[in-house]
């Protein structure tokens, strides 16, 4: 609920090489609002999404968590919709709604009967420029967000490690802030902070309306003009964030926590995003990530999980959708009885082998095929197109770049993969995180010694 999106691996999609991804219709209203429509007529339902080009990385230093807290406040009313009523109105007509925030975007959505999209448009247009909320509702919702932070992060050692690694990775770029915010800073956010942020960033020319489902694009455009058209443009800020200096030092982050039962190893490298480094590098990085960690065929999975038996699970991921810099992430959990240091040595041996020998043409061909073989599934879901296009347009990608993805992946060469591997898999760009039990704490007991739960009643 009011979800915080943690992006996973950009799903490998696929198609015959000439096919388009989603074939959207794209319009721009006079006030700058982009309108994107993906038709999908398999059921009489639709997803309506409004994506704003603002996220946690656009917050003022010292006010972390503001973009996300504002997301919560967007449900707290306008002169015509009482606090909390937005979701109830959607539910009353058989719909569901929610929202999520990342470093780069804030998105709101309603899943509704396709005959009801106008209701969603009316209310989304309303809160795009009429938001009001009082101090009491603000303070209560801030407490909700504090509980959300406890649930997501403070109660979860893995999440705490990732938060600390993000802070170590980005020396200067605001991506070093957790999207949900630092605890002490959330506690100090004020109603004025939230309203200022809203007035600064929320405007039609800084938003994208995406509709996917059983709808007619011409009708969607007409409804968009009726409901969003009258909202005036605003002078929203240019996104010019402090950038990372050239990385010169490998960093280590170690979290020892008495709650840890399963140690873990994570390594991240600073990498270009599609916007910051261009499609060629991003595409090659996607193929590289697939070669290393894709499913059961990836070479790190085969070497460390299957052949050497050092890891119980392993993941390599790269999501090119980021406005500024990006990361390539590798994470692994040791098999029971394997020391974390031994797993780490195994990972580093594989990375050294990659550095020395590069990837083979066969590996590249197979990875490209795996990435693009199942693209038809994307059109099977009511949500995939809307999410992909909304994310792309709020992270500096174009619709054409989304649509040409299968062709571009097909064109990636082994040379390009080896080149990007050499550039990105450089220790100086890396942060290595380890999650360990606290010596002597309960959590350092052998992970196998699980007491029967029923015996813990006291």
């Amino acid at each position: 609920m009011r979800r915080l999106m943690v992006l996973g691996l950009y799903l490998g999609l696929a198609f015959p090489a000439q096919a388009r991804m989603f074939d959207p219709k794209v319009f721009t209203l006079d006030n700058g609002l982009q309108v994107v429509v993906v038709e999908n007529h398999r059921a009489p339902i639709a997803e309506v999404m409004v994506w704003y080009k603002v996220g946690a990385a656009d917050e003022t230093p010292g006010k972390s968590g503001l973009a996300h807290l504002l997301e919560h406040m967007m449900f707290k009313g306008t002169p015509t919709i009482a606090p909390g009523e937005f979701s109830k109105i959607i539910a009353r007509s058989g719909g569901r709604d929610n929202a999520f925030t990342s470093s780069d975007y804030t998105a709101y959505y309603q899943d509704v009967a396709s005959a009801n999209i106008e209701q969603a448009f009316t209310m989304e247009a309303d809160r795009m420029h009429n938001l009001v909320f009082d101090e009491k509702n603000f303070v209560t919702e801030r407490a909700v967000v504090m509980e959300e932070r406890r649930s997501r992060t403070d109660n979860n050692p893995n999440a705490l490690l990732h938060e600390a690694m993000g802070a170590a990775m980005f020396l200067n770029h605001p991506y070093h802030r957790p999207v949900i915010g630092w605890r002490d800073e959330i506690a100090q956010l004020s109603r004025d902070d939230a309203l200022d942020f809203y007035h600064r960033w929320y405007a039609p020319n800084n938003a994208v309306l995406v509709v996917e489902g059983d709808v007619d694009p011409a009708r969607v455009l007409e409804l968009a003009k009726t409901h969003f058209g009258p909202i005036p443009k605003a002078d929203t800020p240019v996104r010019a964030r402090p950038q990372e200096p050239g990385p010169i030092a490998a960093r280590e982050v170690t979290l020892k926590d008495g709650r840890v039962q399963q140690p873990a190893l994570v390594r991240q490298w600073l990498a270009p995003s599609l916007r910051s480094g261009g499609p060629e590098q991003a595409d090659a990085l996607e193929v590289l990530a697939e070669i290393l960690g894709g499913g059961s065929s990836g070479r790190l999975y085969r070497a460390l999980v299957v052949e050497k038996g050092l890891a119980a699970s392993l993941y390599v991921g790269y999501d090119p959708a980021s406005w500024d810099a990006d990361t390539l992430t590798l994470s692994a959990v040791p098999r029971p009885g394997v020391a974390l240091a031994k797993l780490r040595a195994g990972v580093e041996a594989e990375l050294a082998r990659l550095e020395k020998n590069g990837v083979t043409a066969t590996e590249v061909a197979e990875a490209k095929n795996r990435l693009t073989a199942g693209l038809a599934y994307e059109r099977d879901s009511l949500h995939a197109g809307a999410h992909r296009l909304g994310e792309a347009l709020t992270t500096g990608e174009t619709v054409e770049q989304v649509e040409s993805w299968p062709e571009r992946i097909a064109a990636v060469t082994p040379d390009a993969v080896n080149q990007i591997a050499k550039t990105v898999l450089d220790d100086r760009r890396s942060v290595t995180g380890t999650l360990l039990p606290l010596p002597g704490a309960a959590g350092s007991a052998p992970p196998m010694a699980l007491p029967a739960f029923g015996q813990e009643i006291r």
């Binding site: 398999r42 919709i81 109105i89 058989g94 569901r96 009801n116 106008e118 499913g295 099977d380 009643i457």
Partner: protein, 446 residues
């Protein structure tokens, strides 16, 4: 900024009982039945199959987690293909094949592009009838499950839910963890896995739903290809009925975390209970309806005590509970639990308002169509309707079943189901403010 008042909300259409899907009953030449929604608009096929009496409740008492571990291994080599070859075929052909075990059932999901269906159905056939259980994948999957169990111990939500089930269903197979325990997972042998496949997968306990780019005739042949080799007679369901919950009370598992996580609930009702639809409406108003529920209003919206608070009906084949969850900072957990108890009592004593009843009904009727958002989810729906014996015309009848629920019905069922003193609560954390009536079972607080 322009402050344009909203004069009207657009007229809203509540979707009625008409669905854009037509369900067809297909019986193969060999007698295997499946329900099909034929749809040639996208070249994909989704098949969902469920075996009854093949979940963790049917695991041997000394080997909880056997069905779950088998699920992890059926796609790790079968017939002529070792694990690596089998997995590579799946990945290269973009075939999604997964297995999963719940408490009652064993589930199979197959997703394929229409032009790769020869390989997809063949791999499914091999995985069900000739799984290999080679040494390497058995060791690897065992390690993976042990690692998951260790990670679960780090997750307060999972610790609370497992402890709650262990207490509430004590002495019944539902008390066993679906994924097993470290001891049981280490004790499972290849011969156990083979015996499980031989005895648990039969045509008589199989239910199948299919959606997508395939004709009834072709599906008939595929059903025979995949399932004909299985024994005609599957296992008998020998799980005993669970009908009585232990007395209400609070159990605290002390963990050094800033936020207490609680699972709470009591005896519920099964899916075939005549009061099912009434209870569904009641649950929606109480805690099942997300932002519209009473619990969300009282605990989250008014007081900021939680990010998530919910209830749900959890019907199983041999017993049922109504359960919920909440997470609140340690200092205020007692307040959240008191509010939840109050709402439990208020629903029992007063029932719903007319507006709440109307809103819950329109939501439950209208939102059902949102489940039709992908082929696998429609296929899953076809299986669920069969498992619960709801009839092939269920989609046409459901709106009336919900629509007929009255306020008096809800009051009657609330009195039957909700008893604040019977609430069984498991808290993980270091909660404060537990009142006398919430004192931990069998001893001192905290």
């Amino acid at each position: 900024m322009l402050r344009r008042a909203l004069l009207i909300l657009a007229a809203v259409l509540i979707p009625g009982p008409v669905f854009a899907v037509t369900i067809e009953r297909v019986v193969s030449p060999g007698g295997v039945e499946a329900w099909l929604v034929e749809d040639h608009s996208n070249p994909v096929i989704a098949l969902e199959a469920t075996f009854r009496a093949a979940g963790s409740a049917s695991d041997p008492g000394v080997l909880p987690g056997l069905a779950y571990m088998t699920a992890g291994l059926l796609d790790e080599g079968a017939g002529p293909y070792d694990s690596k070859t089998f997995q590579a075929k799946l990945e290269n052909e973009a075939i999604g094949l997964t297995f999963d075990a719940g408490r009652d059932h064993f589930r199979v999901s197959l997703n394929t592009l229409a032009d790769r269906q020869d390989d997809a159905f063949e791999l499914l056939r091999l995985s069900l009838s000739q799984p290999r259980f080679d040494g390497e994948p058995v060791r690897r999957v065992r390690g993976e499950i042990l690692s998951m169990l260790a990670q679960e111990k780090q997750s307060p939500d999972t610790v609370a839910a497992r402890a709650w089930f262990a207490h509430v269903f004590a002495g019944h197979p539902y008390a066993r963890p679906v994924r097993g325990t470290p001891d049981s997972v280490k004790a499972i042998r290849t011969s156990d896995l083979r015996a499980w496949v031989k005895t648990r997968l039969g045509r008589s306990n199989l239910v199948v739903g299919v959606v997508g780019d395939i004709t009834p005739e072709d599906l008939g042949h595929r059903l025979d290809q995949v399932f004909a080799a299985l024994p005609a007679e599957g296992p008998k369901d020998e799980v005993s009925e669970w009908t009585a919950a232990p007395p209400g009370g609070v159990e605290v598992l002390n963990r050094p975390i800033p936020q207490s996580v609680a699972t709470f609930g009591e005896l519920g009702l099964k899916r075939n209970d005549p009061d099912w639809y009434v209870a569904t409406v009641m649950d929606n108003i109480l805690g099942g309806g997300g932002f519209s529920s009473r619990l969300t209003a009282e605990v989250r919206e008014k007081r900021g005590l939680a990010y998530s608070v919910y209830t749900a009906l959890a019907p199983m084949d041999h017993g049922a509970v109504i359960l919920g969850g909440v997470a609140t900072r340690n200092e205020r957990l007692g307040d959240s639990l008191r509010l939840i108890k109050d709402e439990w009592r208020r629903m029992r004593d007063e029932g719903p308002t007319d507006a709440e009843l109307a809103d819950a009904k329109t939501y439950l009727v209208g939102s059902f169509a949102l489940r039709l958002d992908s082929s696998p989810s429609v296929a899953g729906l076809l299986v669920a309707i069969q498992l619960d014996h709801l009839g092939i015309d269920y989609l046409d009848r459901r709106a009336d079943l919900i629509g007929g629920v009255t306020a008096d019905d809800v009051r009657r069922v609330a009195k039957r189901l909700l008893d604040p003193d019977a609430l069984i609560v498991t808290v993980v954390g270091q909660p404060e403010g537990l009142a006398d009536d919430q004192s931990p079972r069998g001893g001192a607080s905290q």
